[in-house]
């Protein structure tokens, strides 16, 4: 049964790496100064942290169905994280550009929302 023990140890090491990424992302979210740097810290915690945890849990998975659901959670979080970070960063950059071009009190995000409606 030593193979199982090594598998458990490797799994726990991967889970520990994931916990470290979560910790780093959370500290970065607290200490970094502006929105885009916080976004940078957040995406690392999302993708790599949850990825390491899922990889570690996959090594312990009992059957294929459980393994499939673990991969599904990971893929869903990666898809959601990339989508959300693109949306937030695009909105922030567009708002800055609009505020620089026009008066600062303008409704900054009205234009991209309207253009997105046309599709």
């Amino acid at each position: 049964m030593s193979g199982v023990v090594w598998l458990d140890a490797l799994s726990l090491a991967l889970i520990g790496a994931g916990v470290l990424f979560f910790l780093a992302g959370s500290i970065g979210l607290l200490r970094l100064p502006d929105l885009l740097s916080r976004l940078h810290a957040l995406t690392k915690a999302d993708n790599v942290g949850l990825g390491c945890v899922v990889l570690g849990l996959m090594l312990q998975a009992g059957d294929a169905y459980e393994l499939l659901r673990l991969v599904l959670v990971w893929l869903l979080v990666m898809f959601a994280g990339s989508l959300a970070c693109y949306l937030v960063a695009h909105s922030a950059v567009t708002a800055e550009a609009t505020a620089d071009a026009a008066s600062p009190a303008a409704t900054a995000t009205a234009a991209p929302a309207a253009s997105r409606d046309e599709r």
Binding site: V19, L76, A80, L87
Partner: protein
Amino acid sequence: MAEPTHPAAWADAGLWLAAALIAATIVLGLLRVERGPAPADRMLAAQLLGTGAAAVLLLLARATAQPALLDVALVIALMAAVATAVFVRRIGVQAGARGPGADAQPDSPPPPPPPRPPVP
């Protein structure tokens, strides 16, 4: 289908410890929700919260040998995606909301108003 195996005692304790640590990072993210100056900052912290909750649920599903918690994690991941997309669509990131780091640069005066076209 194989019987779901329960992990060894020390691996089980490691799973519980990892779940507790990730829950502690969720509490750190709640601080950002409380103090974040812009709505976008709070929303980002809420997204980290959703991911952390999914990770805690995955760990607990293994530690307590209840695979139904995996479905709960799936639902939470889906909800986090929908929440951020709806936030950006409905509220958006306001200009000048990029935090004190962006505001603390005094070397960028507001641009002069664009010159009017000459009236013929």
